[in-house]
Assembly symmetry: C2
Homo-oligomer: 200 residues x 2
């Protein structure tokens, strides 16, 4: 069976960088936004729209026919969300079957649960995440610490709801992961050799 | 500053074994029950009694003078608990100042927070913990899975309350640790080289 590593990560914790560097260290494939492109290919939706669907928390956690009103637009959105999730599920399974790889986010730890992936969760303190995000912000993008904190909280709230909606599990709960790494005050590059060795 | 590693661990997760093996791998000291002996030495209580105090959850989370009754025995017990904690605090600080070391449990992650320890939390699934405990039970000690599960839950509940009482933090919350390791279905020995490398 292929060596599969999934990485869940708090926004701004450096999880993506860790995944990329780990893939270089281990010489295995790395999938993040590539999955969006493939979903776009399979569903005929734009990558941007798909990204928006994935980054937004599901708006309903119950069938939309419950209640007195029937909102067509909500129903349509839910159907598209479902299509995206199903395409994503299929693509992730395919990628994991094809070769050893690292997959960032997208409930891959849950989708691939039968393939016994090594499930990593990357997190860090809010202060550390704010600093990392501000350092990495595009040139000319002025965003205050307060605004960045708000943005981080919003994105993570959506990730958490998305994960819970599709897996029935709690995002960031240690029981769903094999290794949880706190990147506060750490240089991501320095963590990689140890994690690579730990994963065997 | 000395290299200090603290290990919090769920009962039966193999955290103690991991700490011992890690100390061999890194060639640094390891403290677990040795701390009890030193507390006994400083407080004139027996090791067994001290162990009992530490393994029991604090009985009060509010000053015992609140309420209409005043129980001398409770008060006395609380004073002894406090003496044990203060002795433990002092010993742990001393050990960490003396040399590089690994300290198991005992709120050491919190006590040594100014010394920037590497804080590990070791956990695993209930099934895995039950199996590990039953395998390691003394010969002739027959304990059913159900009884073992009850024992594990009880010990961890006490550890959790003890930690929360003295630190104001949540035991097992990822934010209190640098690395969390799930030992379910893992051979502890195999995890050690990777963790050693990760800690630098």
């Amino acid at each position: 069976m292929n060596k599969i590593i999934t990485i869940g990560r708090q926004f701004g914790s450096g999880g993506r960088e860790l995944g990329k560097r780990l893939s270089d260290e281990l010489g295995i494939r790395y999938y993040d936004k590539e999955i969006l492109a493939e979903i776009a290919n399979q569903t005929s939706m734009s990558e941007e729209y798909i990204s928006n669907i994935i980054e937004q928390a599901p708006k309903r956690s119950y069938p939309i026919t419950i209640g007195n009103t029937f909102a067509f637009s909500d129903n349509y959105y839910m159907m598209q969300m479902q299509s995206v999730y199903l395409a994503q599920d299929k693509i992730i399974r395919q990628l994991a079957s094809d070769s050893d790889c690292i997959i960032i986010g997208r409930c891959a730890d849950y989708i691939l649960r039968d393939m016994n992936p090594c499930r990593i969760f990357v997190y860090s303190s809010m202060q550390s995440r704010v600093e990392r995000c501000i350092t990495r912000a595009a040139e000319g993008e002025n965003i205050s610490e307060k605004e960045m904190k708000k943005k981080i909280n919003e994105i993570d709230k959506n990730r958490s709801k998305y994960y819970e909606f599709y897996t029935g599990r709690t995002w960031g709960d240690i029981n769903n992961y094999d290794v949880c790494i706190n990147t506060s005050d750490k240089v991501i590059k320095d963590l990689v050799p140890g994690i690579a060795k730990l994963l065997g």
